[in-house]
Symmetry: C2
Subunit: 254 residues, 2 copies
DNA sequence: AAGCCTCTTTCCGTCATACGGAAAGCCGTG
DNA sequence: CACGGCTTTCCGTATGACGGAAAGAGGCTT
């Protein structure tokens, strides 16, 4: 943990990412800071419009400055989102399940768009949320497109964090599975990221590198009922369509 | 300027809010920091996923964590945006000019949604951007709904910053104009925020307080050609429609 | 292929400055 | 009117952020 005050200021921002206004003492408690410290840091955040203080209650909430900056992030994936959106809709229509667009931000994947499924029990991921790539179908689909040496570098030799009992435990096991994924063209996650939830995903390739992945996620029994292999074929066809509109010549393995 | 390192970290974030990746030295130059200082601060931002470092180039770009947090900000205005959107479309259709939805974040107004006009020369404001309320039609429309004492408190007795030669110069003059705005129901900005640009706006009221404003902005000659008074009537009718769908009983002054 | 230049990264001694305990305002409530 | 909770301010201390300098890493040119 490098610069303490910056880290603490970010803690405050994240603690404010809730629907209601939050009071100083509660913020301090949640972030483990002294009220006076929180107050000083908030002062700086307010000065910069990242935080606003309600005139009526004195409590704090996030300012719109954050949006101004987040727009710049969103612009980076705007083109990809536009191209992928119709295919997300298709996937949702065919399967009835939630369809996601993700990008790789090593060592994580990040959800950048989603179409929610029509079932009453459906998966939903907050846009912007990050999950370890090795624990997800989309992550595996994307990692499989990269040289094993790069994957090794991303994860080093520390053991992989176990999110569920079925999470892949070692980099060696991950690399072995990535071979399979590359072979068959799609990745699968069987309750590896969250108990009871499964996911199937295929990579979107631009010129030179993998740029994202399409995935479906659903309760594990429904994934099995739909047959992972068939879902895989659907996702490959949709992802390849996006790849092609990005100018990638599908068919050439890498 | 309160906490230096936090302030500098935010400088870095803002310097990264551009389409391309940025190198360390350039970032340091732009923000006026030493490269070693910038590097240390970036380390913290990277640790927290606010910034990502490209594996290929070593240069820096914003991470998706920002989106995750910005979503929380956007949610606060989601309902209002949904209600106002069709009216923005209408305003754009009738006038051909850009229509904006703004909220008050004293002492500024913030753009939270926009429909771009169809003319080749059209106004556009970045969503999330903030502008002093006293210099804009939308700001005046909203401030006019508040007790003068509150307005006085917001601006204190420091002279108002002059954004153009026509910007309102004093709080006294502002309060006088707010009386007029309240009387006729809409606010006007005649090149007060930006030379050559004019704006007309009407307030959206929820139960108890003003919650936002609708505005049209265009080059000054086109505002005059369309007749500010007529634009005002259009905006009032649209804004009142939004107010009504928020449960506000239109007709009662305050 | 070798060397140069620019960029990123690390190191470390100094002193500015962020920290946090404590006390002071400020409200709304009983 | 006094109490309890909140936000805000103050200030002495020592932590930890700073930045100069040097080392490491690529990428280009010659």
């Amino acid at each position: 943990m490098s610069v303490k005050s910056v880290s603490r200021a970010l803690d405050l921002l994240e603690a404010l990412a809730v629907p209601e206004e939050v009071g100083l003492v509660e913020l301090a408690t949640r972030t483990g800071l002294q009220p006076s410290t929180a107050h000083r840091l908030l002062g700086t955040l307010i000065e910069r419009r990242y935080v606003v203080q309600s005139a009526a209650t004195g409590r704090y909430l996030l300012g719109h400055k954050l949006n101004e900056i987040a727009v710049a992030v969103a612009k980076r994936t705007e083109h990809l989102r536009e191209l992928a959106r119709p295919h997300l809709e298709t996937i949702k229509k065919v399967t009835g399940e939630s369809a996601n667009l993700t990008v790789l931000e090593p060592p994580n994947i990040v959800y950048v768009d989603q179409v929610e499924g029509s079932r009453s029990v459906r998966m939903f991921a907050r846009i912007g949320a990050a999950v370890p790539a090795y624990a997800t179908a989309a992550g595996k689909a994307m990692l499989a497109q990269m040289p094993p040496a790069v994957v090794r570098e991303i994860y080093g030799d520390a053991p992989l964090e176990q999110l569920t009992p079925r999470t892949i435990a070692s980099v060696e096991a991950l690399l072995a599975e990535l071979d399979e994924v590359r072979e068959r063209g799609f990745g699968v996650d069987r309750e590896e990221q969250e108990p009871g939830v499964g996911c199937v995903a295929a990579p979107i390739r631009g010129d030179g590198a993998v740029v994202g992945a399409l995935s479906v996620s659903a309760p594990m029994p429904r994934i099995d009922a739909a047959d992972p292999a068939e879902l895989g074929e659907l996702l490959i066809s949709r992802a390849d369509a996006v790849s092609m509109s990005l100018g990638f010549v599908v068919g050439s393995r890498r």
